[in-house]
């Protein structure tokens, strides 16, 4: 019986060249775009020096997608966009249309399937987030669930341009921050609040002790012998529950149903527009994990967005708005309590103390 010849093994070929995936209209005008405008929320037109225009329809996605859904998206792109599409860094789907007449029929088809169109200009675009309980071993919360409930609440801001500026929301389910949420307008961060549990019986078999000790940013881990077995102990006073030891040593889990939860950070940005990029700062130190819909978290995020929408001046990002009104005012008008946890106590903390009498009362 003849067997299939084994194909020659190919390695290190890299990704396919992007050139083959570009719409012919894009190829013709590559690098020669002149300007763009938003025709309406979710619809952009880019005009080239040649006078040709490409229309982009931006649609939301759940980020976690089934192949069936992607194939349906392909059907839409075949029907309206000559079979060309792209994705954005915030998990939106962008259909690239040469024909302006296709915009409204496409939007109609997308909306009929429950796919919102928007995410452009002064809106809340898709949530950048991590894997959470779907796929991660260190998560303190579920990122997909939080992103879903938060966007259910803020959906009107995705499909409109009514905010003073864009608001970028990100969710990371632990301090590892695969979603690098630390420069977001609003960041939702999964947190642990108790030191890891040390499995002394197994630690020696699963972990390299010197690497585990070295993994701790605050030097809270010491080698120790327990019941004749080499292990480690954690200084509870020094531990700040980052989970870095667990990444190195599986015998030190720190997930805890009753104590894990979520903190909320505000005012970060990465764009250099007007002001420098900024880190997000702590707004709410702890909210409980309350699946499936995290009502405390969605309520808090909605409140921050609503207060920002009502008070910020045009073009101010959340961070710029707070810088102008001052942080005490932010806590005052949002009604969020300011606590000892808001005062930094890690390295370089004193750079955040107020060394001026400039204050607004």
């Amino acid at each position: 019986m003849a067997t299939e010849p084994v194909p020659q093994r190919r390695t290190d070929i890299g990704p396919p060249h992007y050139d083959q995936f570009l719409h012919p209209l894009i190829k013709r005008n590559y690098g020669k775009w002149k300007h763009h405008e938003a025709l309406k929320p979710g619809v952009l037109v880019h005009t080239a020096e040649s006078g040709e225009a490409i229309y982009t329809v931006r649609a939301a996605s759940a980020r976690l997608l089934s192949t069936d859904f992607i194939k349906w998206v392909c059907d839409m792109a075949d029907k309206y966009a000559d079979g060309y599409l792209r994705f954005t860094s915030r998990n939106n789907i962008e259909f690239l249309l040469a024909n302006k007449e296709n915009i409204d029929p496409l939007i109609k088809d997308l909306n009929a399937r429950g796919v919102p169109v928007g995410g452009t200009h002064n809106s809340i675009s898709g949530v950048v987030h991590t894997q959470g309980w779907i796929h991660c071993h260190t998560s303190a919360t579920d990122a997909s669930g939080l992103a879903k409930t938060i966007m259910d609440e803020l959906d009107e801001y995705f499909s409109s341009h009514k905010l003073p500026q864009r608001v970028k929301i990100a969710v990371a389910c632990c301090l590892n921050m695969c979603g690098a949420v630390h420069c977001s307008d609003i960041a939702i961060l999964g947190i642990h609040r108790k030191p890891p549990y040390v499995n002394h019986a197994n630690l020696k078999n699963l972990c390299e002790i010197p690497t585990t000790v070295a993994a701790c940013p605050t030097a809270a881990i010491r080698p120790v012998t327990v019941d004749g077995k080499a292990s480690v102990e954690v200084d509870r006073e020094k531990c700040m529950y980052c989970g870095n030891c667990y990444t190195t040593c599986p015998a030190m889990p720190l997930a805890d149903a009753d104590n894990d939860g979520v903190s909320i950070w505000v005012g970060g940005k990465v764009a250099n527009a007007r002001t420098r990029p900024m880190f997000s700062k702590l707004a709410i130190p702890y909210l409980p994990n309350n699946p499936p819909r995290w009502p405390e978290v969605t309520e808090a995020v909605k409140k921050i967005v609503d207060v920002y929408a009502a008070n910020a001046k045009p073009w101010e990002r959340i961070g710029e708005w707070i810088e102008r009104i001052s942080w005490p005012k932010f806590f005052e008008i949002t009604g969020l309590p300011f606590t000892r946890y808001h005062i930094d106590d890690f390295r370089g903390a004193n750079k955040t103390y107020r060394t001026t009498t400039h204050m607004k009362f």
């Binding site: 880019h46 994705f87 860094s89 429950g114 779907i134 630390h182 420069c183 993994a215 599986p250 250099n272």
Partner: protein, 399 residues
């Protein structure tokens, strides 16, 4: 495709997340579950997590394809007896095309391959930029990889490797692009294949290419090596396009543009807009607000910044300027040489799990740039030192 796929397993908690206007990831898992036993057990395990309020995945393990040390993230269920189909549920990272452009033909091919070898679940895309294929068994990895490479695709980076470079939409569909972000991304990805596929660094190393200071791929917050498009000459003004903006409802040139300019370098005399380009700090605001009237200059290139990272281990960092302006044209020799010099230093002096930004913090920027052969430059800092404890070179002092 069914709108609301029904499963024979009860998932009351997750069902709550199929309500509301935003697209539901639960519906997506259920869709995959109508075809894949793995996705079916995934729904069951995630429902369990929603009841228990903890994740049920075990620590990763070493799995991969032959000859590669990265691209596959091993994942095992901590409840394998209850959910046997996800006992192994590994992630495959596939290197995305630059700019995340696709044809439907290519996307369908990828989906078909994943249906044959995995759970049928994906992320389009992961945070670093890869296509994420979520959930397959160890025995499927090598056959999937063979099929993938036959179709012209390859794995992305993971672990202590160069991570898959990614970029903004760039000159493919943006008038703000100061260099070809897609070309550079493709070039660096091909040049550094070995370091992407075989982890050999102290820790991860990420590249992000943004075409302008709007930084749409968040390079300044997320990439060890950040390349942000920049121009050096004058912003181009089309005076004839200004009246259109003045006619927009709610538009106020003074409030929305002039007063928002951080260096107040724009003037309007009622007929003509002028910009004092020597004062412009390239913030992008006026260009963002009036793209029909204003365009970036013609002498374009990029600013190179180094060192961003999330908090683990020593705290979050943003990238800081290494080279204020560099021309950015193929074959990109100057930037590749710089990368190599940084890697040589990091490889020799970086501690285990120390990102390059933390290394720079530890040894000091002055020592670092000396080691990689860059001259001190005031663009590298926000301001000169305030601290008078200066380590003068004793050898330079007179006897």
């Amino acid at each position: 495709m069914e709108d609301k796929p029904k499963l024979d397993v009860p998932t009351p908690k997750l069902d709550e997340l199929e309500k509301g206007p935003w697209p539901s990831f639960v519906t997506e898992i259920k869709r995959a579950a109508t075809k894949s036993a793995m996705a079916r057990d995934l729904v069951r395990q995630v429902e369990q997590s929603y009841n228990d309020r903890v994740g049920h995945w075990k620590h990763g393990g070493l799995v991969g394809v032959r000859g590669y040390g990265s691209g596959i993230i091993g994942r095992y269920s901590g409840k394998a007896e209850q959910f046997p189909e996800v006992a192994q549920f590994h992630t495959v990272r596939v290197n995305q095309p630059a700019g995340w452009f696709y044809t439907t033909k290519a996307l369908r091919e990828l989906c078909d391959m994943w249906d044959r070898h995995g759970s049928g679940l994906t992320n389009m895309h992961g945070s670093t930029g890869d296509i994420i294929f979520l959930g397959t068994k160890t025995e499927e990895l090598e056959p999937f990889f063979t099929e993938l490479t036959q179709k012209g695709w390859d794995l992305g980076g993971s672990g202590s490797a160069t991570r898959t470079p990614s970029c903004c939409v760039g000159p493919a569909r943006c008038e703000m692009a100061c260099y070809d972000t897609l070309a550079l991304t493709q070039d660096l990805t091909m040049e550094f294949q070995d370091t992407i596929h075989r982890p050999a660094w102290p820790y991860k190393f990420k590249f992000k290419m943004s075409g302008c200071p709007n930084d749409c791929v968040s390079g300044i917050a997320r990439a060890d090596f950040t390349i942000i498009g920049m121009w050096r000459d004058a912003i181009r003004i089309d005076q004839s396009a200004i009246p259109e903006y003045l006619g927009f409802e709610g538009f106020d040139l003074r409030r929305d543009v002039l007063d928002k300019c951080p260096t107040k370098c724009i003037e309007w005399d009622g007929k003509k807009l002028s910009i004092n380009d020597k004062e412009c700090n390239h913030c992008m605001h006026c260009l963002n607000v009036m793209p029909k009237a204003l365009r970036i200059g013609k002498d374009t290139g990029a600013t190179i910044l180094l060192g961003a990272k999330a908090p683990i281990v020593e705290g979050a960092l943003m990238s800081s300027v290494l080279v204020p302006f560099m021309k950015m044209e193929p074959p990109f020799t100057e930037v590749k040489d710089l990368v190599q010099r940084i890697w040589d230093f990091w490889e020799e002096f970086g501690n285990n799990r120390e990102r390059v930004g933390e290394l720079v913090t530890r040894v000091g920027l002055a020592n670092f740039i000396e080691a990689i052969g860059l001259e001190p430059n005031p663009y590298m800092v926000m301001h000169p030192r305030e601290n008078p404890y200066v380590f003068y070179d004793v050898d330079e002092a007179a006897e």
